[in-house]
């Protein structure tokens, strides 16, 4: 297994280094996507399958699509990362020394922390004790949707804030409508979309007792939606008449989250204190709402502006 670890670490270092050092914006973005895939494998290796699922869909898929589309919108003069002939900078050696120093220092500090400081820390026991009352059998889902529901609420609020900032900046970039030039893409998107929906439902169902849940499900559906947006198959998102519907849909996840929080406040006296008997139903409702709003917001990021003008 050590050989696989070493290979994974070297691949991550190589892709990250190429992303940061080589000339060419397109090459850097492609390397970042490869880096995301390698990171997904590393998460599997570190026993974090939930994180691996989300990273594979978001880190390698949606981030790459966002960056590539943005790069495609830039004028040619902005796409070059370096003027004319690229040379290794003269202070490359200084940079390397700084990297080794900072990295080594951090490594020693982290090893110290892992060996001594955290030996008895961690919340694994507390979570295991609270798990039977939370309404979900899988610990990560229970934490995200019940035990630390406030965090997820704020996270969805942050995403909604990001959408608001993007909408305030500029009108939406029109869909690239690649379907005419590349008919294969449209067919692929249509063939794959049922599978995206199936995967979405499977992750949601699985999330209560095994790795999966709202975040990977939302990420997968969002990635599928971005594929459809690329082919110009989702016209309504850009139209003026549907703007209010889009706004309500975007806000729905946050609103449902707030409603459950207030319901918990009324029923048990503490915010997000879901009563154990109903916790299972609450979790399913929140999970579906959170996954759908995450997917929709990831798709809305892709518009890079306010639709409907």
């Amino acid at each position: 297994m050590l050989a696989i670890d070493v290979l994974l670490a070297l691949a991550a270092l190589a892709t990250a280094g190429q992303c940061l050092l080589l000339p060419g914006l397109f090459r850097a973005v492609a390397n970042l996507m490869a880096f995301g895939l390698v990171m997904a494998l590393i998460w599997v290796r570190l026993d974090a399958p939930d994180v691996a699922l989300a990273e594979a869909a978001i880190g390698a898929g949606i981030t790459g699509a966002l960056l590539l589309t943005a790069v495609g919108q830039l004028p040619a003069s902005q796409r070059r990362l370096h003027p004319e002939h690229y040379r290794v900078p003269r202070w490359f050696i200084t940079m390397a020394i700084i990297v080794v120093l900072v990295g080594g220092l951090l490594w020693v500090a982290m090893l110290e922390l892992l060996n001594t400081g955290l030996a008895n820390a961690g919340l694994a026991k507390e979570v295991a004790a609270a798990l039977p009352e939370s309404g979900a059998e899988h610990a990560v889902t229970a934490i995200l949707l019940n035990i630390r529901g406030v965090d997820t609420l704020l996270e969805i609020a942050v995403m909604l804030g990001a959408v608001a900032v993007i909408w305030s900046l500029q009108p939406a970039i029109p869909p690239p409508a690649l379907g005419g030039n590349y008919p294969g893409l449209t067919t692929l998107a249509r063939w794959l979309h049922p599978l995206f929906l199936l995967t979405f439902c499977y992750f949601l169902w699985q999330g209560t007792h095994a790795p999966g849940g709202a975040f990977p499900a939302g990420a997968v559906l969002g990635a599928g939606g971005v594929l459809l947006l690329l082919t110009g198959s989702i016209g309504w998102m850009y139209r003026y008449g549907y703007n209010y519907l889009l706004r309500w849909l975007l806000a729905a996840g946050l609103l449902l989250f707030l409603v459950t929080a207030l319901a918990g406040l009324l029923m048990t006296g503490s915010l997000y204190g879901l009563p154990p008997t109903f916790a299972g139903y609450f979790i399913i409702a929140i999970e579906v709402a959170a996954a759908l709003s995450i997917a929709l917001m990831l798709m809305t990021f892709y518009l890079f502006g306010r639709p409907g003008r």
């Binding site: 670490a9 990171m39 830039l74 902005q78 982290m110 955290l118 961690g122 942050v158």
Partner: protein, 91 residues
């Protein structure tokens, strides 16, 4: 052994990304460095979850939230960048 190796990887990635964030000329390159920095910090967080007596699920949940927030940041920065440099010649 695995933990030591990946801690070294995460430390090196943090250092590389930090240096790039401060020295890169092109703003998109800084954004890429920011993404790599986020991944490296997530890696450190997940490594702390593996200390002793089983795997602590709380950092996993934190990292899941963090990944989504990181992609939101990327989207906002790209929209800002497109507004500034999208159609007009840069100065």
């Amino acid at each position: 052994m695995t933990d030591t190796l990946f801690t070294l990887l995460a430390s090196l990635l943090v250092a590389m990304a930090l240096v790039s964030i401060f020295t890169a000329r092109h703003l998109i390159r800084r954004l890429l460095a920011l993404n790599i920095l986020a991944s490296a910090v997530f890696l450190l967080l997940v490594l702390t979850a593996r200390s002793a007596g089983g795997i602590d699920p709380v950092p996993h949940a934190l990292v899941l939230t963090g990944i989504v927030v990181a992609v939101s940041t990327t989207a906002v920065v790209l929209a800002l960048y497109l507004r500034r440099y999208g159609r007009e010649p840069p100065c």
